[in-house]
């Protein structure tokens, strides 16, 4: 199942592709036409609707096209940060060839893969789904060899309905995921883990006392950690036991362990600016310098991304240094509003490396593209290499394969 947040995210995402005609010119044409028509006859309305848009509605060709920024300069919204010139740009195949590859879209059982995230430069965590949104197994794919191995089967607890394994997290030793389900109509939340090396899935805990409101999951050594919708970060030993709230985590939401921020992922807070980023291991708090007129600012430990008035993409570091506008990238896609790996912003056909200023283009063939399903900003963007919902192969970008900035 999808979430309401994903729906809201898809709408905002789609809104970026809105046309950018010259409204005032169009209005003038329309007004003259209306006056004429009114003079002629009274049946104007339908005809105007049918005809008038033809000359003025110029749909824009895509993000970052030559006309994509028309209008931005005319928005008076305070000082414009200097745009850092891109260091280099070009197709990803030329700039970061090691980050692009093609892989089979189904496993040995013909179960469809749904990528989760990259766990290294050459490994990809995948769900293999026995049917739609029914995670049957978790696998690890090696892009260097093109081979994958099963980490664990994903069991379904008997007696539960609407059983949906949600986000999966991984570290160097384990994978963990949580499940939302119902029992007699009441919400149940389960936590599961399995060794990354491969083995049986083991249930860590199951909670039936109301909806926990889990919004995220991560692994922290011998614990699984998560944050809840109303704020607060909790942890539970992988060996089981009682969950405890992490000290100083009140009102915080996990970004990427051990970092958390003070805004929720939900649509209610879409425009809210994050004000701090907190390290839950060390207690370090980094206040965020939020410029006037910037909205929706989301920051990892180093980089922030948001937008200025009229939806112009904007990025800076937490301390306010290196500000810049990001043309053609008003908001990052889906729910991954935080910079990926605290460094990259993903557009429809472009990837911005905030660290180096590099902008690369990527071309997703087929009729859709998607990001990995991990809670933490996924390093993966992928698409079907052929049109339709069931391509035989995926084209994949794994940003974890991009070398560190010098």
């Amino acid at each position: 199942m999808r979430t309401e947040d994903e729906l809201a995210g898809a709408l905002r995402r789609a809104a970026e592709l809105a046309p950018e005609p010259d409204l005032l010119a169009g209005l003038a044409v329309r007004r003259r036409r209306r006056t004429r028509k009114r003079a002629q006859a009274a049946l104007a309305v339908v005809a105007v609707i049918g005809v008038a848009g033809a000359g003025t509605a110029l749909a824009r060709g895509g993000l970052g096209g030559p006309s994509a920024n028309t209008g931005e300069t005319s928005v008076h919204s305070g000082p414009t940060p200097s745009s850092e010139a891109p260091v280099s740009s070009g197709p990803i195949e030329e700039v970061w060839p090691q980050a692009v590859f093609t892989m089979k879209a189904t496993n040995a059982d013909n179960w469809r893969y749904r990528p989760i995230t990259g766990t290294s430069a050459t490994t990809l965590l995948l769900n293999a789904e026995s049917s739609f949104e029914k995670a049957g197994a978790i696998e690890l794919y090696e892009s260097a060899t093109g081979e994958s191995r099963v980490i664990t089967k994903v069991p379904v607890t008997k007696g539960l309905k609407r059983y949906f394994p949600q986000a999966t997290a991984a570290d160097q030793s384990n994978v963990a995921w949580y499940v939302t389900a119902t029992k007699d109509g009441e919400p149940v939340t389960e936590f599961w883990t399995a060794p990354l090396a491969g083995g049986e899935a083991r249930q860590i805990a199951s909670f039936a006392e109301g909806d926990l409101g889990v919004e995220s999951i991560a692994l922290a050594g011998e614990h699984v950690v998560w944050s809840v919708k109303e704020g607060g970060v909790f942890r539970l030993p992988l060996s089981g036991g009682a969950p405890e709230q992490l000290p100083g985590s009140g009102g915080l939401h996990l970004i990427q362990w051990p970092w958390a921020g003070d805004v929720a992922a939900g649509r209610e807070d879409m425009d809210a600016n994050q004000s701090k980023v907190v390290n839950l291991e060390t207690g370090e708090v980094r206040p965020i310098l939020v410029p006037d007129e910037v909205r929706g600012l989301r920051c990892g430990p180093v980089w922030c991304h948001g937008w200025r008035a009229a939806g112009i993409g904007f990025a800076q570091r937490v301390d306010g240094t290196r500000p810049r506008v990001i043309p053609g990238l008003p908001m990052s896609r889906g729910l991954s509003r935080y910079p990926i790996l605290d460094r990259f912003l993903l557009g429809n056909d472009k990837i911005h490396d905030l660290e180096t200023g590099t902008i690369v283009t990527y071309t997703s063939t087929g009729s859709w593209n998607g990001v990995g399903t991990s809670f933490e900003p996924s390093t993966i963007v992928y698409w079907g290499t052929t049109k339709g919902d069931r391509p035989a192969e995926y084209g994949v970008v794994n940003l974890a394969a991009v070398p560190p900035a010098q």
Binding site: L7, A8, L11, P21, R30, G53, A57, F164, W368
Partner: protein, 161 residues
């Protein structure tokens, strides 16, 4: 000669892009979005002095857009379907493009309700007022749409205002 005052033009310059985005998610295609925004702005231009002094012009124009969209769907009865979504088919649920594709294939009325609720963040009561339909209809249209899109309604669904 300027057909409108400077203030109105500034409003269009400043808020035009946001209105086009709203029009785009409402109508599902670029041509209709531009049509919708321009028609609504034309109306706003006629009443600019009054609206500027009394109301929030942006809220006013957005309401006009939603209503105009309703009246178009009543008048035209023609869907701009770009792809049928067969029930129970496999779809890549985590791709927002795919979700958008399915959104566009929704009947107009359902799509309008979804946009007002999830893009405009309006309550069902406000949606009912804007579209001139009952709150029960808002709820049934929304739940039908969410079902088609395979979106799990939040636990608050039953108690929505």
């Amino acid at each position: 000669m300027r057909p409108w005052g400077v203030e109105f033009e500034e409003f269009v310059q400043a808020r035009g892009a946001a209105l086009l985005r709203y029009g785009y998610v409402l109508t599902g295609n670029a041509d209709d979005a531009a049509d919708l925004v321009q028609e609504a702005l034309l109306k706003l231009g006629d009443t600019w002095q009054r609206v500027r002094n009394k109301d929030n012009p942006e809220g006013y124009v957005r309401t006009i857009m939603a209503r105009q969209h309703v009246s178009w769907w009543r008048r035209r009865r023609r869907e701009q379907v770009t792809g049928e979504v067969p029930e129970g088919s496999y779809t890549d649920g985590h791709s927002s493009e795919e979700l958008w594709h399915e959104l566009r294939a929704l009947p107009r009325k359902q799509r309008a309700v979804i946009v007002l609720r999830y893009y405009e963040d309006l309550s069902d009561k406000e949606i009912a007022e804007i579209l001139g339909i009952s709150r029960g209809t808002v709820r049934s249209q929304a739940s039908r749409a969410l079902d088609k899109l395979r979106v799990r309604p939040s636990v608050l669904e039953m108690g929505r205002a």
